[in-house]
C-alpha cells in the first residue's frame, strides 16, 4: 500500500488540501483527514456504477461504441442543433471548462453551470453591487465575528467550521473562544446549535430583516416592532455586535440565495457588508457547493465577460438568467439539444425541465451511472479529475488550487473528450 500526501478533495467548495490517500493496485482504498462525503467520493461509495465504454442508445437500449464514434455523434448533435445548451461544468477542471467555452462559441450554444441552481443569485448580486471578499486563510487568522447565513456547513461542508472558524489562527490563538459565531437560519440546524447568537427568522424574510438592519446601521428607527419574527431590540443588538467586530466574515448559502427574492437578498446583504466597513473590517464568502463551481464562473467571465448563462446564438455573448438559464431554456421548451458534463441535473432539476431533457437529444459526459445518464442518448465516460487526472480548481474564496492525479486510468479526460468534440465540430461547421 502506498500513501499519497497533500491530495485536494474534489468534492465540495471547501477544497480541503490536506487529504492523504491510501492506494493499492492503482485504486484508492482509503483516506485520512477527509470528511465522510469527501471520503466516499475517493473510494467510490457503495453502489456507484462506473462506465468504462461510451454508450449509445439504440432502439431504447444502450450499446457500446468507441470513443471515436461517440465524439462524432456528439459533434453532430451539437452542430445540427439550433438552440443547444451545454450545462454542468462544476466537477471538472478549469482547462476543460475553457475548451467548453470555445466549443459553445463554435456551435453557438448557451453555456451554463450549476451556479444556475445554487449561487447564481449571488453572481447576479455581485455585478449589481460588488464583491468584498477575502480568503479562508484570512478568516482563520483574523476573524472574530463569523456569520453563517442560510447555510448549514455542519452537514454540507463538514470540515469548514473546524478548519476555518474553530481553528486557532495567528490573531485568534485560542480558536473558538476568540470568536463570536452568529447563525441566521429559520431552522434550529446543527450549525445553529453551535452559535453564540441564533437569529431564527421567519421563512422567506431575509430581505425584510436585512432592510431593517441596514436602516438601523445608518441610525434610523426600524418602522415595525418586529421584523421577520425578530423583535426590534434583538435586531439592534445584532447590528451592534456586527459593528463591534475587528474582522467580520459573512458566509452565506442556499438558505438565503434561494429564499424569496433570491439575488435581491444577496444584493442587500452585500451592501450591508460594504456598509459595515465604516465601523469594522467586514468581508463575505459564498459557501460554494461543487468543488469547482467557482472555477467555471471565473473561466466563463474571463472568456466571455459573464459568469454563467451565456448565450452565443448570435455569435457574440449575451447574458440574461431568466431567459438563458438552463432551466429557463428547458422549461420554456427552447432548447433542442443538450450536453451535460460534470453534474447531475437528472437528479436535481424540476419535472418540467426533465420532460424536455427526455424529448431532445441528450449527451452526458459522466463517469458514473446517474439519473442524468438514465435519460441520455449518448454517454461518454471520462477519467475523474482530482483522482485520475490533474487540473486546477477554484476554492469558494477564489483561491485556485492544483489538483493531483492520484491513480492511473485508461479513460480519456474531460479535456481530451471536449478537445476532440471541438475539433470535429470545427470541421463540420466549416463544411456547412
Amino acid at each position: 500500500m502506498e500513501l499519497v500526501n497533500n491530495v485536494i478533495c474534489p468534492f465540495c467548495g471547501t477544497l480541503c488540501d490536506d487529504i492523504i490517500c491510501k492506494v493499492e493496485n492503482e485504486e484508492i482504498v482509503g483516506t485520512y483527514n477527509a470528511c465522510r462525503i469527501g471520503h466516499s467520493k475517493f473510494v467510490h461509495a457503495e453502489g456507484a456504477m462506473r462506465y468504462t465504454k461510451p454508450l449509445l442508445r439504440k432502439n431504447g437500449e444502450f450499446v457500446e461504441i468507441s470513443y471515436d464514434e461517440a465524439i462524432e455523434k456528439a459533434a453532430q448533435i451539437l452542430v445540427d442543433a439550433k438552440r443547444p445548451v451545454m450545462y454542468g461544468w462544476s466537477c471538472t477542471d478549469c482547462a476543460s471548462q475553457e475548451v467548453g467555452m470555445e466549443l459553445a462559441e463554435e456551435v453557438r450554444a448557451v453555456i451554463d453551470n450549476t451556479a444556475s441552481v445554487c449561487h447564481g443569485p449571488s453572481l447576479l448580486a455581485v455585478h449589481d453591487t460588488g464583491y468584498p471578499v477575502c480568503t479562508l486563510g484570512e478568516v482563520k487568522n483574523r476573524a472574530d465575528v463569523v456569520v453563517y447565513w442560510g447555510c448549514n456547513p455542519f452537514h454540507a461542508h463538514p470540515r469548514h467550521i473546524a478548519r476555518h472558524s474553530y481553528a486557532r489562527g495567528f490573531f485568534r490563538e485560542r480558536g473558538r473562544p476568540d470568536r463570536t459565531m452568529i447563525v441566521v437560519d429559520p431552522r434550529n440546524s446543527d450549525t445553529a446549535k453551535l452559535a453564540d447568537i441564533h437569529l431564527q427568522l421567519e421563512y422567506n424574510k431575509d430581505y425584510e430583516l436585512v432592510d431593517a438592519m441596514r436602516s438601523a446601521l445608518k441610525g434610523h428607527d426600524i418602522l415595525y416592532d418586529e421584523v421577520a419574527g425578530i423583535p426590534r431590540e434583538q435586531i439592534i443588538g445584532a447590528v451592534e455586535a456586527l459593528k463591534k467586530a475587528q474582522f467580520g466574515i459573512l458566509f452565506f448559502g442556499m438558505g438565503i440565495t434561494h429564499s424569496l427574492g433570491k439575488h435581491r437578498n444577496i444584493d442587500t446583504a452585500i451592501m450591508m457588508t460594504q456598509e459595515l466597513n465604516q465601523f469594522a473590517k467586514w468581508t463575505l464568502i459564498p459557501m460554494r457547493g461543487h468543488y469547482n463551481v467557482n472555477g467555471f464562473n471565473q473561466v466563463c467571465t474571463w472568456e466571455s465577460g459573464y459568469p454563467f448563462c451565456v448565450d452565443f446564438a448570435t455569435g457574440e455573448p449575451r447574458y440574461n438568467p431568466g431567459e438563458t438559464g438552463t432551466n429557463d431554456l428547458l422549461q420554456n421548451k427552447e432548447a433542442d439539444a443538450m450536453m451535460v458534463i460534470a453534474s447531475d441535473p437528472g437528479a436535481h432539476f424540476p419535472q418540467r425541465a426533465l420532460q424536455t431533457m427526455i424529448e431532445i437529444p441528450l449527451i452526458s459526459i459522466e463517469p458514473h451511472r446517474t439519473p442524468t445518464t438514465e435519460l441520455a442518448d449518448l454517454i461518454i465516460p471520462p477519467a475523474i479529475v482530482g483522482m485520475e487526472a490533474e487540473g486546477t480548481a477554484y476554492r469558494m474564496d477564489g483561491v485556485p488550487l492544483r489538483m493531483k492525479k492520484v491513480v492511473e486510468s485508461d479513460l480519456l479526460t474531460d479535456n481530451q473528450i471536449l478537445t476532440k468534440i471541438l475539433e470535429r465540430a470545427q470541421e463540420l461547421e466549416a463544411s456547412k
Binding site: 442543433a81 439550433k82 438552440r83 443547444p84 456551435v107 453557438r108 450554444a109 447576479l124 455585478h127 449589481d128 430581505y207 425584510e208 436585512v210 432592510d211 431593517a212 441596514r214 436602516s215 445608518k218 434610523h220 428607527d221 426600524i222 418602522l223 415595525y224 416592532d225 421584523v227 424569496l260 427574492g261 435581491r264 444584493d267 442587500t268 451592501m271 456598509e275 452565443f312 446564438a313 448570435t314 447574458y319 440574461n320 438568467p321 431568466g322 431567459e323 427552447e334 432548447a335 433542442d336
Partner: protein
C-alpha cells in the same frame, strides 16, 4: 399611415428573434425587400418570409408605417427593439423583450407579454392589453439604469421586480403586482392600481410609487409621514386618501416616496 401586415405562417420549434421587424427598418423598402429582412431562428439567420407572409404597403419614413403582426407571437422575442417612430400592433401574445430599448413610436400588444417588456425603454409608448411577466421597464442585468423615459401601461397583472432600477418615465399597472415592484428605483413614477404582495420600493433611492389596492406587507426601512389627500405627482392629480412613506433608508440618502391607499392598508402603518 400605410399598413404592413405580417402573418406567422409556421411556428418555429425554437424561438425567433425579430428586432428588425420595425418601422425604422421597413421604411423605404418595397414589400419584396421586406420579405428578405433577416431574423434569427435560434442560432441561425433566416429570411422573414420563411416564417411570415408579408403584405400591405410600405412608406418612406418610419413615422408613416404601422406594422400589424397578425397572429400568435408567443414564441417571438424582441418585437420593436429600439424603434424610434411609427406603430406596431400585435394581435396576440408576445414572448420576451417587447419594446426593448424603445425610443419612440407606439406598440400595442393585444394579448399577454412575457418578461422584460420595455426593458431600458427611453421613449415612446408601450401598451399591453393582457398581463406581463417579470421585469417590466427594468435594466439590463448588472446595470443601475432601467427604463429612463416613455410610458408603459399594463392592463392585466405583472410579475416580479417591475420598474427595477427605474430612472425615469412612467409605468401604470391596472392589475396586481407580485413582489418587489420598484426595487432600486431612483426616479420616475410607478402606479399600481391593484394589489401588491411585498417589498414595494425595496432599496429605492428616489422616484414615486402609488399603490391603490392592498399591500400585503411593507418594509421596515421606510419612515411613515402621515396621511395625505388628493395628491399631485409630476403635475398629475391623483384623487384619494393615502398613507405617505419615505425611504428606503437601507440606502444612504434615500428620498423615495411611497403612497399607499388608506382603504385596506391599516396593517402597514406602525
Amino acid at each position: 399611415m400605410s399598413e404592413i401586415i405580417i402573418t406567422p405562417k409556421i411556428q418555429s420549434n425554437v424561438p425567433l428573434e425579430i428586432p428588425n421587424v420595425k418601422p425604422d427598418v421597413f421604411a423605404g423598402k418595397s414589400i419584396d425587400e421586406i420579405k428578405e429582412v433577416e431574423i434569427y431562428q435560434g442560432n441561425e439567420i433566416v429570411k422573414l418570409s420563411e416564417f411570415f407572409e408579408v403584405e400591405g404597403e410600405s412608406a418612406e419614413t418610419p413615422g408613416e408605417i404601422k406594422i400589424i403582426i397578425d397572429g400568435d407571437a408567443s414564441n417571438i422575442k424582441r418585437i420593436g427593439q429600439g424603434m424610434t417612430a411609427g406603430e406596431i400592433i400585435v394581435k396576440g401574445d408576445v414572448s420576451m423583450y417587447v419594446g426593448l430599448d424603445m425610443k419612440g413610436g407606439k406598440i400595442i400588444v393585444e394579448g399577454n407579454a412575457a418578461s422584460w417588456a420595455g426593458q431600458t425603454m427611453k421613449g415612446g409608448e408601450l401598451e399591453i392589453m393582457g398581463s406581463a411577466g417579470d421585469y417590466v421597464g427594468s435594466s439590463y442585468r448588472g446595470d443601475w439604469r432601467g427604463m429612463s423615459g416613455g410610458f408603459i401601461t399594463i392592463h392585466g397583472n405583472v410579475g416580479y421586480e417591475i420598474a427595477e432600477y427605474l430612472s425615469g418615465g412612467k409605468i401604470v399597472v391596472k392589475g396586481n403586482a407580485n413582489h418587489m415592484p420598484g426595487i432600486h428605483m431612483n426616479s420616475g413614477v410607478l402606479i399600481i392600481e391593484g394589489n401588491v404582495t411585498s417589498r414595494t420600493g425595496g432599496e429605492m433611492s428616489g422616484g414615486t410609487i402609488i399603490v391603490k389596492g392592498v399591500m400585503d406587507e411593507f418594509l421596515a426601512g421606510f419612515k411613515y409621514l402621515g396621511i395625505e389627500r388628493d395628491i399631485q405627482v409630476n403635475g398629475e392629480d391623483i384623487p384619494g386618501v393615502f398613507y405617505k412613506f419615505t425611504g428606503d433608508y437601507a440606502i444612504k440618502g434615500a428620498h423615495g416616496t411611497v403612497y399607499v391607499a388608506v382603504a385596506g392598508n391599516k396593517h402597514i402603518v406602525p
